[in-house]
């Protein structure tokens, strides 16, 4: 269970007085029940990725808290956060593959750092993950030699290799063609059903995202303007939600 209460974050405005700040999150609150696939949607620069990073403890809010399975990650030191991060897997927007490691070593990295597994088990898990994302035989390649879609799939394999009970996906299908994109969403949904993990997924690909989510939250200019089931999101009368979900050009956005 993830509970977010009153998250607020502001940053200084360049070349402005020290008191002038721009809000990137303003009083954001929502909860994600265990085993739920939650979609976080909204236009660019709405603060969706910032929320994910705060759940992972990678950014500290100015106010508010994030409780992950009973631990308030906003209060924990970097050392104590490491135990919370054992429960988390994360796919980053830019994939964040380590460019000096091979594909296999990238996927094995969390296993080697977080768990003391025998090397043959690490290798078998890496091969199993690569098979899941249809990249068999890619373990010795370097990330620089992969296409955008392949990098994304390696990122998905790394995010899920520890079989963490909570997985955060930041734009899992950004920049992919529709077929690969659909495959990725189906794969993530299957993984979530099989593991029963709690998943929060940020994506702009609403057509596909809304086919797999249980609940949806929509952010706009740092505020959460909608939180409800996927059906409620589709039927919402809120003008901004309606415009965004249905992809209308006319409206307040």
């Amino acid at each position: 269970m993830i509970a977010i209460r009153g998250l607020t974050k502001s940053v200084p405005i360049p070349n402005a007085s020290i008191r002038e700040r721009r809000f990137i999150l303003r009083d954001v609150s929502f909860s994600v029940p265990s085993g739920c696939l939650y979609g976080l949607i909204g236009p660019g620069a709405a603060g969706k990725s910032v929320v994910l990073k705060m759940i992972a403890g990678l950014m500290k809010p100015d106010a508010g808290n994030v409780v992950v399975d009973g631990d308030d990650v906003t209060e924990l030191s970097e050392l104590k956060l490491q135990s919370v991060r054992l429960k988390l897997g994360m796919l980053f927007q830019n994939n964040a593959l380590f460019d000096y490691l091979t594909v296999g070593d990238n996927i094995a990295f969390p296993l080697r750092r977080l768990y003391h597994l025998p090397e043959d088990e690490v290798q078998s898990r890496v091969l199993e993950r690569l098979a899941c994302v249809s990249l068999q035989g890619f373990e010795d390649r370097m990330p620089s030699g992969l296409s955008g879609g392949q990098k994304k799939r390696v990122g998905v394999a790394r995010a899920t290799v520890t079989k963490a009970p909570i997985v955060l996906y930041d734009e899992p299908a950004a920049g992919l063609d529709p077929v690969t994109s659909q495959k990725i969403f189906e794969l993530l949904r299957e993984e979530q059903r099989a593991s029963g993990a709690t998943v929060i997924m940020v994506s702009s690909d609403l057509d596909r995202l809304l086919t797999v989510t249980d609940r949806v939250g929509m952010m706009y200019r740092g505020e959460l303007i909608f939180d409800g089931s996927t059906e409620e999101a589709r039927a919402s009368d809120e003008p901004r939600v309606r415009q965004f979900v249905h992809g209308l050009t006319e409206g307040p956005l």
Binding site: E78, R85, L88
Partner: protein, 275 residues
């Protein structure tokens, strides 16, 4: 009678407060930066003792910092050695037209200060910029966040191997740089002032205090380069422009750190070895 303010009359006031505000913001930034730099240094020392070493990383960093700097350092220190001895010879000719002590004073100066300070300033430009650019790129591509998600503290994983490698290789490179600068100086003294090598190779003025001071500088500069440039890399924000600024900041701040450390170590040395 009250006079109505025109925009030109208002300008000095807003100009004044604008500058005060900018000055205040800069001062706060400096204090926050110094505190963060200190935090990076303390955490680096902590992880040197308690951290987890990946196989071969230290050797790879020693190769990157040490071996790849040999040519650059040889050329620059050789050239600087020639210039220093030539200029010193010209000055000496005006005051005491005697070159007997040229080699002895030059050797003492090299061991006590110049080899470490000039060599490290040269290293700061190559190694400091490289460290900041590499870590800065990892920050903007979220690789540092990915490390943190895998319980790999960036200080432990990225800075500590560079810290250890830099301390070892800076010392080795400074010894080499001093050797090159001395040889280049000896050649210049021979060709420009007819000073024979056996006269120039004179270690009479060199004491153990000079070696201790030079060694302390090697260790201090070797530690400062990766700490300062690593901190600049970790505090990168924005995209490729941010990496560019981080690299520039790393070169400027590392050079500044070397000069400040030089001041303190030299002062301490004069006090400790005064007798």
């Amino acid at each position: 009678m009250s006079e109505e303010l025109t925009p030109t009359q208002e300008a000095p006031s807003s100009f004044f407060w604008g500058n005060v505000s900018a000055l205040g913001a800069t001062a706060i930034e400096l204090v926050v930066g110094a505190r963060e730099l200190y935090s990076v240094f303390v955490r680096t020392l902590y992880y040197v003792v308690r951290g987890r070493r990946e196989k071969g990383v230290l050797l790879r960093q020693m190769y990157e910092i040490g071996n790849k700097s040999v040519f650059f350092l040889t050329v620059t220190m050789g050239a600087l050695g020639m210039i220093l001895v030539y200029q010193a010879g010209l000055q000496a000719a005006r005051v005491v037209p005697d070159y007997q002590m040229l080699g002895a004073t030059y050797l003492q100066l090299l061991i006590r200060d110049l080899a470490a300070s000039l060599g490290s300033l040269m290293l700061a430009t190559r190694v400091g910029a490289g460290i900041a650019a590499e870590i800065g790129s990892m920050v903007v591509t979220e690789q540092v966040d990915a490390l943190r998600m895998c319980a790999a503290d960036p200080i432990d994983f990225l800075i500590v191997p560079r810290f250890l490698a830099s301390m070892i290789m800076t010392t080795v490179l400074v010894i080499w740089a001093g050797f090159v600068a001395f040889l280049a100086g000896a050649a210049t003294a021979y060709f420009a002032f007819d000073v024979m090598p056996q006269t120039f190779f004179n270690a009479r003025m060199v004491t153990s205090a000079d070696f201790a001071t030079g060694f302390a500088k090697c260790i201090a500069y070797g530690a400062a380069i990766p700490i300062v440039s690593g901190y600049c890399g970790l505090s990168t924000f924005g995209g490729s422009e941010g990496v560019g600024w981080a690299t520039t900041r790393a070169v400027v701040n590392t050079s500044l750190a070397i000069i400040i450390l030089n001041f303190f170590i030299s002062s301490a040395s004069f006090v400790i070895f005064a007798g």
